[in-house]
Subunit: 313 residues, 2 copies
């Protein structure tokens, strides 16, 4: 396995590196910031890339936020960004459903109705692609418990509870996850709906600790279905790369993925056959992983802002 090239402090190598790519895909947490702390030089580095004619894209598995919401988050962190520069797993799912599924499943209506387990970010992105949906933030499903009528209606396939037009179940992070949603999703899939997930991260970092990630909404269904996994549309799934490509029509050989995790970000770039992958040491991944692990980036730097050394003096 080849050794990644270490670029920190190597002006000529940095300049050559930058000259190879037109688009940089960025993982965010661990690369641009950590938790609530923006790294020094993040904003200047992004500005330098943009000023050099590069396109930057923020690639996030956060499914609770739409691109618009995520832009606000970026701006709240002090990072200027446009909605066009954000690519989240909810948007990835919406693109996949509206543009890719109809090709792969000609038996579906061109835009099948989606039963959503998740928050408003998913709904906003489905709306942006004109994909019809139910579930999600519907207040009638935001309740605990199940009553005898639910059992009999679901068992009977009553169209007042099981919409016959649903052709896709999409699970994402849902803080309002509950028993009835789990049962409805199961019945839709058993009736033939395609099982998708915005992403299947097992945990969600918040306040310096880990909480339940979007994968915990898919896991019970996988168990009920006897092991059937969803098609996941976030990193490192290549379905997300396909969706990014569907949106930007980029040249993969001129694209570089930047991230801190070998097994998600770097893997995502390598399996997507991007021209380059850049590891940073400000997050989860270590120098040992990048240089001795199974999944190695093409390049690595101590921190993202080390790219600024490519500037002419």
């Amino acid at each position: 396995m080849s050794q990644p090239q270490y670029l920190t402090g190597q002006r000529e190598a940095l300049q050559e590196f930058l000259s190879k790519y037109d688009i940089f895909l960025f993982d965010c947490d661990g690369v641009l910031w950590s938790g609530d702390h923006l790294f020094d030089g993040t904003v200047a580095t992004l500005e330098f890339l943009r000023a050099s004619g590069k396109r930057v894209v923020f690639v996030t598995n956060n499914s609770t936020k739409s691109r618009k919401d995520y832009c606000k988050k970026l701006e709240g962190m002090g990072i200027p960004a446009t909605e066009e520069e954000v690519f989240g797993s909810s948007y990835s799912a919406a693109i996949y459903i509206s543009r890719i599924l109809p090709q792969r499943h000609p038996e579906l209506k061109s835009k099948p109705k989606v039963f959503v387990i998740g928050e408003s970010g998913i709904e906003q992105e489905l709306d942006s692609e004109n994909v019809p949906h139910i579930g999600g933030t519907d207040s009638s499903l935001r309740r605990l418990g199940i009553n005898p009528e639910d059992y009999t209606k679901i068992a009977a396939g009553d169209p007042s509870v099981l919409d016959p037009e649903v052709g896709v179940v999409l699970t994402g992070l849902d803080f309002h996850f509950n028993y009835i949603k789990m049962c409805l999703a199961y019945h839709y899939i058993k009736r033939g709906a395609i099982f998708l997930a915005t992403n299947i991260d097992s945990t969600l970092p918040s306040a310096g600790a880990l909480f339940a990630g979007a994968g915990t909404m898919a896991a019970p269904l996988t168990m009920m279905l006897g092991g059937t996994e969803p098609v996941a549309l976030g990193k490192p799934s290549q379905a997300m790369m396909d969706a990014i490509e569907g949106k930007f029509k980029f040249d993969r050989s001129r694209t570089c993925m930047v991230g801190d995790r070998a097994n998600t970000d770097i893997k995502f770039g390598l399996e997507g056959k991007l021209g380059g992958t850049l590891g940073v040491l400000t997050g989860v991944g270590t120098k040992e992983e990048f240089t001795e692990g199974d999944t190695r980036p093409h390049f690595y730097v101590d921190r993202l802002s080390d790219l600024l050394a490519a500037k002419e003096a």
Copy 2:
């Protein structure tokens, strides 16, 4: 692998079969009834066994009901039963926690406090063994969503949300399952609590269809924990057999498990090295499974009431 003996219509063989056992452990759904339909001859067969001096025990994975609740269900189906004859997975869990855990984990207090994901059946059974517990039906945890304060308090290990005395997390079927319970359970386990489940059935039959079973409350935690499975205390786990033995002090060689499912009921009896296992063909298992499958009972009959043919004319 040996062939099971077919007993239907064989009076002498039936009499010999009955003479071998003092205790009969019964699975219920598929053996005594199906859904809401009590099989003809169920009551007469149970009465015949009791009149012949046999002890009958109803062994159920239903964790939402205490023994008392389950007795009412049996009586509602027309089957006379006493609380002493019922052994459910919640009671199994309570026995395991109060009598077996302290031996296996001497570092625990003799009765560690339990964080419960489940309904009142679990709480009643923990109470019956004087095991302290929190969570469960606590109304403060019956809410959807999570707020910023929850994140910071959980992350900080605030004792007002994470009780330092909790040494066990017990998951069972919870119709009020939600995000906050999932996160609390995860943090308790990460802090060292033992991860138990009343049972891990993936589905729950009701109204002729399948709904989410108790396993769907454990599956998200297993995912968050990177694959750690709970110790399951329902069939076919031998922890349940140990708990039954802890209660009845029976002679395994003089005990017979009766069930319709090869992979749960029959497996439960075989792995528990009971003297006998009897398959019935009124539920999930088929003659082919019983005679050609990997898990074969010692004996099988078409239906439970075929045992009545052992009566002297």
